[in-house]
Protein backbone atom coordinates (compact mmCIF):
# COMPACT_ATOMS: atom_id res chain seq x y z
CA UNK A 1 0.00 0.00 0.00
CA UNK A 2 2.87 2.34 0.81
CA UNK A 3 4.88 1.45 -2.30
CA UNK A 4 2.69 3.32 -4.84
CA UNK A 5 2.54 6.30 -2.50
CA UNK A 6 6.31 6.37 -2.05
CA UNK A 7 6.78 6.03 -5.80
CA UNK A 8 4.88 9.29 -6.22
CA UNK A 9 7.00 11.12 -3.68
CA UNK A 10 9.76 13.25 -5.15
CA UNK A 11 13.27 12.62 -3.82
CA UNK A 12 13.87 14.87 -0.83
CA UNK A 13 16.62 17.41 -1.51
CA UNK A 14 18.34 16.62 1.77
CA UNK A 15 21.69 18.05 0.70
CA UNK A 16 20.32 21.61 0.42
CA UNK A 17 17.07 22.92 1.88
CA UNK A 18 16.05 19.52 3.19
CA UNK A 19 18.39 19.70 6.16
CA UNK A 20 16.81 22.99 7.29
CA UNK A 21 13.30 21.57 6.89
CA UNK A 22 14.28 18.44 8.79
CA UNK A 23 15.83 20.58 11.55
CA UNK A 24 12.64 22.65 11.90
CA UNK A 25 10.42 19.58 12.25
CA UNK A 26 12.89 17.89 14.59
CA UNK A 27 12.77 21.02 16.81
CA UNK A 28 8.97 20.72 17.13
CA UNK A 29 9.11 17.04 17.99
CA UNK A 30 12.06 17.52 20.35
CA UNK A 31 10.15 20.22 22.24
CA UNK A 32 7.09 17.99 22.61
CA UNK A 33 9.28 15.05 23.59
CA UNK A 34 11.16 17.03 26.25
CA UNK A 35 7.87 18.34 27.63
CA UNK A 36 6.33 14.86 27.79
CA UNK A 37 9.52 13.51 29.43
CA UNK A 38 9.38 16.21 32.12
CA UNK A 39 5.72 15.44 32.73
CA UNK A 40 6.50 11.72 32.93
CA UNK A 41 9.14 12.39 35.60
CA UNK A 42 6.62 14.45 37.56
CA UNK A 43 3.98 11.74 37.25
CA UNK A 44 6.42 9.13 38.54
CA UNK A 45 6.97 11.41 41.55
CA UNK A 46 3.19 11.48 42.11
CA UNK A 47 3.08 7.70 41.84
CA UNK A 48 5.84 7.41 44.45
CA UNK A 49 3.99 9.81 46.72
CA UNK A 50 0.79 7.78 46.32
CA UNK A 51 2.72 4.66 47.33
CA UNK A 52 3.93 6.44 50.48
CA UNK A 53 0.38 7.51 51.29
CA UNK A 54 -0.89 3.97 50.82
CA UNK A 55 1.81 2.77 53.20
CA UNK A 56 0.77 5.44 55.70
CA UNK A 57 -2.86 4.32 55.50
CA UNK A 58 -1.90 0.67 55.94
CA UNK A 59 0.25 1.52 58.98
CA UNK A 60 -2.54 3.54 60.58
CA UNK A 61 -5.00 0.68 59.95
CA UNK A 62 -2.68 -1.80 61.67
CA UNK A 63 -2.32 0.46 64.73
CA UNK A 64 -5.02 -0.13 67.39
CA UNK A 65 -7.33 2.88 67.89
CA UNK A 66 -5.99 5.00 70.77
CA UNK A 67 -8.99 7.10 71.75
CA UNK A 68 -11.82 4.59 71.40
CA UNK A 69 -13.89 3.85 74.56
CA UNK A 70 -12.93 0.16 74.32
CA UNK A 71 -9.23 0.92 74.34
CA UNK A 72 -9.25 2.30 77.90
CA UNK A 73 -11.39 -0.60 79.19
CA UNK A 74 -9.08 -3.11 77.56
CA UNK A 75 -6.03 -1.49 79.12
CA UNK A 76 -7.47 -1.50 82.64
CA UNK A 77 -8.69 -5.08 82.38
CA UNK A 78 -6.08 -7.64 83.46
CA UNK A 79 -5.21 -10.26 80.87
Amino acid sequence: MAAPLLAEVPALPLETAGSYVAAAYVVLFALVLVYVAIMAIRMSRVERELGELLELVERSEQRPPEHSPDAGARESTPA
Binding site: L5, E8, V9, P10, L12, P13, T16, A17, G18, Y20, V21, A23, A24, Y25, V27, L28, L31, V32, Y35, M39, R42, M43, V46, E49, L50, E52, L53, L56, V57, S60
Partner: protein, 274 residues
Protein backbone atom coordinates in the same frame (compact mmCIF):
# COMPACT_ATOMS: atom_id res chain seq x y z
CA UNK B 1 -39.70 -2.44 40.48
CA UNK B 2 -36.31 -1.61 42.02
CA UNK B 3 -36.00 1.79 43.66
CA UNK B 4 -33.89 4.36 41.78
CA UNK B 5 -30.28 4.42 43.01
CA UNK B 6 -29.71 7.38 45.27
CA UNK B 7 -26.29 8.96 45.11
CA UNK B 8 -25.35 12.24 46.69
CA UNK B 9 -25.17 15.15 44.26
CA UNK B 10 -21.47 15.71 45.10
CA UNK B 11 -20.54 12.11 44.25
CA UNK B 12 -22.45 12.28 40.97
CA UNK B 13 -20.77 15.54 40.05
CA UNK B 14 -17.33 14.10 40.88
CA UNK B 15 -18.07 11.00 38.78
CA UNK B 16 -19.22 13.16 35.88
CA UNK B 17 -16.09 15.31 36.20
CA UNK B 18 -13.82 12.25 36.20
CA UNK B 19 -15.52 10.88 33.07
CA UNK B 20 -15.30 14.28 31.34
CA UNK B 21 -11.60 14.63 32.23
CA UNK B 22 -10.76 11.14 31.05
CA UNK B 23 -12.73 11.26 27.79
CA UNK B 24 -11.81 14.87 27.13
CA UNK B 25 -8.08 14.16 27.24
CA UNK B 26 -8.41 10.89 25.34
CA UNK B 27 -10.51 12.44 22.57
CA UNK B 28 -8.12 15.37 22.28
CA UNK B 29 -5.13 13.04 22.13
CA UNK B 30 -6.64 10.93 19.34
CA UNK B 31 -7.66 14.05 17.40
CA UNK B 32 -4.14 15.48 17.80
CA UNK B 33 -2.42 12.33 16.58
CA UNK B 34 -4.77 12.16 13.58
CA UNK B 35 -4.37 15.88 12.88
CA UNK B 36 -0.56 15.81 13.10
CA UNK B 37 -0.38 12.73 10.86
CA UNK B 38 -2.70 14.33 8.30
CA UNK B 39 -0.69 17.53 8.46
CA UNK B 40 2.64 15.75 7.83
CA UNK B 41 1.17 13.70 4.99
CA UNK B 42 -0.23 16.83 3.35
CA UNK B 43 2.99 18.82 3.84
CA UNK B 44 5.30 16.23 2.34
CA UNK B 45 3.08 14.35 -0.11
CA UNK B 46 0.40 16.80 -1.24
CA UNK B 47 1.41 20.47 -1.02
CA UNK B 48 3.29 21.60 -4.14
CA UNK B 49 6.78 23.06 -3.98
CA UNK B 50 6.83 26.83 -3.84
CA UNK B 51 8.34 28.45 -6.95
CA UNK B 52 10.75 30.81 -5.17
CA UNK B 53 11.91 28.93 -2.05
CA UNK B 54 11.31 25.38 -3.20
CA UNK B 55 11.48 22.69 -0.53
CA UNK B 56 12.58 25.19 2.15
CA UNK B 57 9.07 26.67 2.16
CA UNK B 58 7.83 23.50 3.96
CA UNK B 59 9.02 25.15 7.19
CA UNK B 60 6.10 27.55 6.71
CA UNK B 61 3.67 24.77 7.73
CA UNK B 62 5.29 24.30 11.12
CA UNK B 63 6.58 27.82 11.88
CA UNK B 64 3.47 29.90 11.15
CA UNK B 65 0.93 27.66 12.97
CA UNK B 66 3.25 27.61 16.00
CA UNK B 67 3.41 31.42 15.95
CA UNK B 68 -0.36 31.87 15.56
CA UNK B 69 -1.23 29.32 18.26
CA UNK B 70 1.30 30.75 20.73
CA UNK B 71 0.04 34.33 20.24
CA UNK B 72 -3.59 33.18 20.55
CA UNK B 73 -2.56 31.25 23.69
CA UNK B 74 -1.13 34.40 25.24
CA UNK B 75 -4.40 36.22 24.55
CA UNK B 76 -6.33 33.24 25.94
CA UNK B 77 -4.21 33.43 29.10
CA UNK B 78 -5.32 37.06 29.47
CA UNK B 79 -8.98 36.17 28.99
CA UNK B 80 -8.75 33.41 31.59
CA UNK B 81 -7.05 35.85 33.95
CA UNK B 82 -10.00 38.26 33.53
CA UNK B 83 -12.27 35.41 34.55
CA UNK B 84 -10.04 34.79 37.59
CA UNK B 85 -10.25 38.40 38.70
CA UNK B 86 -14.02 38.40 38.20
CA UNK B 87 -14.77 35.18 40.09
CA UNK B 88 -11.71 34.90 42.40
CA UNK B 89 -11.82 31.19 41.60
CA UNK B 90 -8.19 29.92 41.72
CA UNK B 91 -8.92 27.38 39.01
CA UNK B 92 -9.09 30.19 36.43
CA UNK B 93 -5.65 31.32 37.56
CA UNK B 94 -4.41 27.77 37.10
CA UNK B 95 -5.85 27.68 33.55
CA UNK B 96 -4.35 31.06 32.74
CA UNK B 97 -0.97 29.89 34.06
CA UNK B 98 -1.06 26.70 31.98
CA UNK B 99 -2.18 28.57 28.83
CA UNK B 100 0.72 31.04 29.16
CA UNK B 101 3.22 28.33 30.08
CA UNK B 102 2.30 26.28 27.01
CA UNK B 103 2.30 29.37 24.77
CA UNK B 104 5.82 30.14 25.96
CA UNK B 105 6.97 26.68 24.86
CA UNK B 106 5.26 27.13 21.49
CA UNK B 107 6.81 30.61 21.16
CA UNK B 108 10.25 29.10 21.78
CA UNK B 109 9.50 26.62 18.97
CA UNK B 110 8.45 29.54 16.74
CA UNK B 111 11.71 31.40 17.41
CA UNK B 112 13.88 28.36 16.72
CA UNK B 113 12.04 27.28 13.55
CA UNK B 114 11.98 30.91 12.39
CA UNK B 115 15.73 31.17 12.87
CA UNK B 116 16.28 27.96 10.89
CA UNK B 117 14.05 29.30 8.10
CA UNK B 118 15.87 32.64 8.13
CA UNK B 119 19.23 30.90 7.85
CA UNK B 120 18.05 28.81 4.92
CA UNK B 121 16.27 31.65 3.20
CA UNK B 122 18.27 34.80 4.01
CA UNK B 123 21.58 33.27 5.06
CA UNK B 124 21.36 34.69 8.60
CA UNK B 125 20.07 33.13 11.81
CA UNK B 126 18.57 36.42 12.92
CA UNK B 127 17.80 39.74 11.20
CA UNK B 128 17.44 42.63 13.66
CA UNK B 129 15.97 44.98 11.04
CA UNK B 130 12.96 42.71 10.50
CA UNK B 131 10.05 44.01 12.64
CA UNK B 132 8.11 40.72 12.76
CA UNK B 133 11.06 38.82 14.21
CA UNK B 134 11.98 41.50 16.73
CA UNK B 135 8.39 42.10 17.84
CA UNK B 136 7.87 38.38 18.40
CA UNK B 137 11.08 38.26 20.43
CA UNK B 138 9.77 41.19 22.53
CA UNK B 139 6.52 39.32 23.20
CA UNK B 140 8.50 36.19 24.11
CA UNK B 141 10.78 38.08 26.49
CA UNK B 142 7.79 39.85 28.03
CA UNK B 143 6.15 36.52 28.84
CA UNK B 144 9.47 35.06 29.96
CA UNK B 145 9.14 37.37 32.99
CA UNK B 146 5.77 35.83 33.94
CA UNK B 147 7.18 32.90 35.89
CA UNK B 148 9.84 34.93 37.79
CA UNK B 149 7.07 37.40 38.67
CA UNK B 150 4.98 34.61 40.14
CA UNK B 151 7.96 33.12 41.94
CA UNK B 152 8.85 36.46 43.51
CA UNK B 153 5.50 36.62 45.38
CA UNK B 154 5.12 34.16 48.23
CA UNK B 155 1.52 34.73 49.25
CA UNK B 156 -0.52 32.49 46.85
CA UNK B 157 -3.54 34.78 46.77
CA UNK B 158 -1.48 37.87 45.98
CA UNK B 159 0.62 35.89 43.49
CA UNK B 160 -2.52 34.84 41.59
CA UNK B 161 -3.91 38.39 41.58
CA UNK B 162 -0.70 40.04 40.36
CA UNK B 163 -0.16 37.30 37.75
CA UNK B 164 -3.69 37.87 36.44
CA UNK B 165 -3.08 41.60 36.11
CA UNK B 166 0.15 40.85 34.24
CA UNK B 167 -1.58 38.29 31.97
CA UNK B 168 -4.34 40.76 31.08
CA UNK B 169 -1.94 43.64 30.36
CA UNK B 170 0.45 41.49 28.34
CA UNK B 171 -2.48 39.77 26.61
CA UNK B 172 -3.74 43.17 25.45
CA UNK B 173 -0.23 44.02 24.23
CA UNK B 174 -0.10 41.01 21.88
CA UNK B 175 -2.75 42.15 19.35
CA UNK B 176 -1.51 45.76 19.61
CA UNK B 177 1.97 44.56 18.80
CA UNK B 178 0.63 42.51 15.91
CA UNK B 179 -1.23 45.52 14.46
CA UNK B 180 1.80 47.78 14.90
CA UNK B 181 3.98 45.37 12.95
CA UNK B 182 1.34 45.14 10.22
CA UNK B 183 1.29 48.91 9.90
CA UNK B 184 5.06 49.15 9.68
CA UNK B 185 6.53 49.86 6.28
CA UNK B 186 9.07 47.04 5.97
CA UNK B 187 7.45 44.06 4.30
CA UNK B 188 10.43 41.75 4.05
CA UNK B 189 8.80 39.05 6.15
CA UNK B 190 6.21 37.02 4.24
CA UNK B 191 2.62 37.95 5.16
CA UNK B 192 0.37 35.08 6.02
CA UNK B 193 -2.81 36.24 7.72
CA UNK B 194 -5.03 38.08 5.27
CA UNK B 195 -3.12 36.77 2.30
CA UNK B 196 -4.04 33.09 2.52
CA UNK B 197 -6.37 33.73 -0.43
CA UNK B 198 -3.19 34.23 -2.49
CA UNK B 199 -2.02 30.73 -1.65
CA UNK B 200 -2.87 27.99 -4.13
CA UNK B 201 -5.70 25.77 -2.89
CA UNK B 202 -3.48 22.75 -1.97
CA UNK B 203 -1.13 25.01 0.02
CA UNK B 204 -4.03 26.77 1.77
CA UNK B 205 -5.59 23.42 2.70
CA UNK B 206 -2.27 22.09 4.02
CA UNK B 207 -1.74 25.26 6.01
CA UNK B 208 -5.22 25.10 7.56
CA UNK B 209 -4.81 21.42 8.51
CA UNK B 210 -1.40 22.22 10.06
CA UNK B 211 -2.94 25.11 11.99
CA UNK B 212 -5.77 22.93 13.32
CA UNK B 213 -3.28 20.15 14.24
CA UNK B 214 -1.05 22.62 16.11
CA UNK B 215 -4.06 24.07 17.94
CA UNK B 216 -5.11 20.54 18.90
CA UNK B 217 -1.59 19.80 20.15
CA UNK B 218 -1.75 22.97 22.27
CA UNK B 219 -5.15 22.02 23.69
CA UNK B 220 -4.02 18.46 24.45
CA UNK B 221 -0.84 19.54 26.23
CA UNK B 222 -2.77 22.16 28.24
CA UNK B 223 -5.36 19.58 29.22
CA UNK B 224 -2.60 17.09 30.11
CA UNK B 225 -0.81 19.60 32.32
CA UNK B 226 -4.04 20.66 34.02
CA UNK B 227 -4.92 17.02 34.72
CA UNK B 228 -1.42 16.37 36.11
CA UNK B 229 -1.60 19.46 38.33
CA UNK B 230 -5.04 18.51 39.63
CA UNK B 231 -3.79 15.00 40.42
CA UNK B 232 -0.76 16.36 42.29
CA UNK B 233 -3.00 18.75 44.21
CA UNK B 234 -5.29 15.90 45.23
CA UNK B 235 -2.33 13.78 46.38
CA UNK B 236 -1.01 16.69 48.46
CA UNK B 237 -4.45 17.30 49.96
CA UNK B 238 -4.64 13.61 50.86
CA UNK B 239 -1.19 13.74 52.46
CA UNK B 240 -2.17 16.77 54.54
CA UNK B 241 -5.30 15.02 55.72
CA UNK B 242 -3.40 11.84 56.63
CA UNK B 243 -0.67 13.85 58.37
CA UNK B 244 -3.32 15.67 60.37
CA UNK B 245 -4.96 12.36 61.33
CA UNK B 246 -1.68 10.83 62.46
CA UNK B 247 -0.77 13.99 64.37
CA UNK B 248 2.35 14.73 62.35
CA UNK B 249 3.45 18.32 61.77
CA UNK B 250 1.91 20.03 58.76
CA UNK B 251 4.27 20.39 55.84
CA UNK B 252 4.66 23.91 54.50
CA UNK B 253 3.93 24.41 50.80
CA UNK B 254 7.22 24.90 48.98
CA UNK B 255 7.62 28.24 47.25
CA UNK B 256 6.56 27.84 43.61
CA UNK B 257 5.73 29.86 40.51
CA UNK B 258 2.80 27.53 39.84
CA UNK B 259 -0.59 28.49 41.28
CA UNK B 260 -1.39 27.30 44.79
CA UNK B 261 -2.66 23.89 43.90
CA UNK B 262 -4.25 23.17 47.24
CA UNK B 263 -6.52 26.17 46.76
CA UNK B 264 -6.99 25.51 43.07
CA UNK B 265 -8.83 22.24 43.55
CA UNK B 266 -11.25 23.53 46.16
CA UNK B 267 -13.84 25.47 44.24
CA UNK B 268 -15.82 28.26 45.87
CA UNK B 269 -19.55 27.73 46.15
CA UNK B 270 -21.52 28.27 42.99
CA UNK B 271 -18.57 28.18 40.61
CA UNK B 272 -18.49 25.75 37.73
CA UNK B 273 -16.16 22.80 37.94
CA UNK B 274 -13.79 21.46 35.32
Amino acid sequence: MPPPSRQPAGALEAKRRRLRDRWGLRTLLIATVLGMTASLVLVFFYAPLEAEQGFLQKIFYVHVPLAIVSLCGFVLGGLLAIQHLRTRDPRWDMRSYVAIHMSLIFALGTLITGSIWAKGSWGHWWVWSEPTLVSFLIVFLLYATYQPLRFSIEDPERQARYASVFAITAGAFVPLNFIAVRLSTAYLHPRVLGSTSNLPAPMALTFLVSLVATALLYATLCNYELTAKRTRAKVRALRRRLDADSGETKQRRPRSAAPGMATAISAPTGSRGN
